[in-house]
Symmetry: C2
Subunit: 183 residues, 2 copies
């Protein structure tokens, strides 16, 4: 279960409250492991029970009290243990692929439209990633340590979107050509 471990990583970088963590999460981890505040609160609770994080209740004035979480020695050990165990492969389940597979029973133009939409949203995402790369990782690929790790993750995102764009182009082209042939 990677959410717990993604939280451990985030909390090791900086301890904080569930709320604050959720904010930060949305700005970094969520690109490859999205999580709602709900999920984060629930998971933090479970992690505290297991002793991976310690909780400190911090009373505040003018705003609700908060609980700040910090990674314990057990949490650090768990993170290290987990990161050494084999990473399972997952098949990304994509509705669009299913639709292409069943295109014979569908309105091809509607599927082409979805591919175009997907292409555009991937191009947008790619642009955002490229901007982050320019802004935050000018030294790439000659980076070291944590900056290197973060850049490698960003690279995965960039590759994913590039690939998506190319496949969508292939798809749109092929389906359109096939439509043309039929008419």
């Amino acid at each position: 279960m990677a959410l717990e471990h993604a939280i451990l990583i985030s909390l090791r970088e900086r301890a904080g409250s569930g709320y604050e963590l959720a904010q930060r999460f949305g700005r970094s981890m969520a690109y490859f492991w999205p999580a709602t505040h709900q999920q984060i609160y629930r998971t933090l609770g479970r992690m505290a029970e297991q002793g991976w994080v310690s909780v400190t209740e911090v009373p505040q004035e003018g705003r609700p009290d908060k609980k700040t979480y910090a990674v314990t020695a057990a949490g650090r050990a768990e993170l290290r243990r987990w990161s050494g165990e084999p990473a399972p492969r997952v098949t990304p389940r994509d509705d669009l692929i299913v639709k292409v597979r069943g295109a014979a029973y569908a309105d091809i133009e509607a599927i082409v439209a979805q591919a175009q939409e997907r292409r555009e949203s991937s191009a947008d995402q790619l642009e955002r990633y490229r901007e982050i790369e320019r802004r935050d990782f000018p030294g790439a690929p000659g980076l070291t340590g944590q900056a290197l790790h973060q850049w490698l993750v960003l690279r995965a995102g960039i590759r994913l979107e590039e690939n998506e764009i190319e496949w969508c182009d292939e798809l749109i082209d092929a389906l359109r050509r096939d439509q043309g042939v039929k008419e």
Copy 2:
């Protein structure tokens, strides 16, 4: 929910029993939408309730009775309706990416080892896909109709694995180089 629709597609290609469907599913759809027989039986039940498929109990001798499922007009309409609605984008959640992100708190060599394993399994999968392409789609990319659709799906798989391999290489290289610098 794409499983229901993937089943509709499969059943439109050929009606059959849950068992038989599960077998076929494993040989085609499962590459991009894996499903256990459990899930298939449960989903078929729900689909029958909704009237998307009709059920016929077929008594058999020497082996257990079976239920064959066939897509109804309502099922065909539903498939068409669904294929026209916008396809949601999903973020593939990959443990390995999380591990890379938190590599500073882990054993880098263990992560490199996992990347190598991933690279190999992707190379294997790619080889299998390439073989299918050679064997079943010699006419690509000049295909039409259902063969074209199936090939486009296969292309998505090929692209995915190629991309994975390249990223793993980048990863292994960069992490090793960084390790070297430190020592």
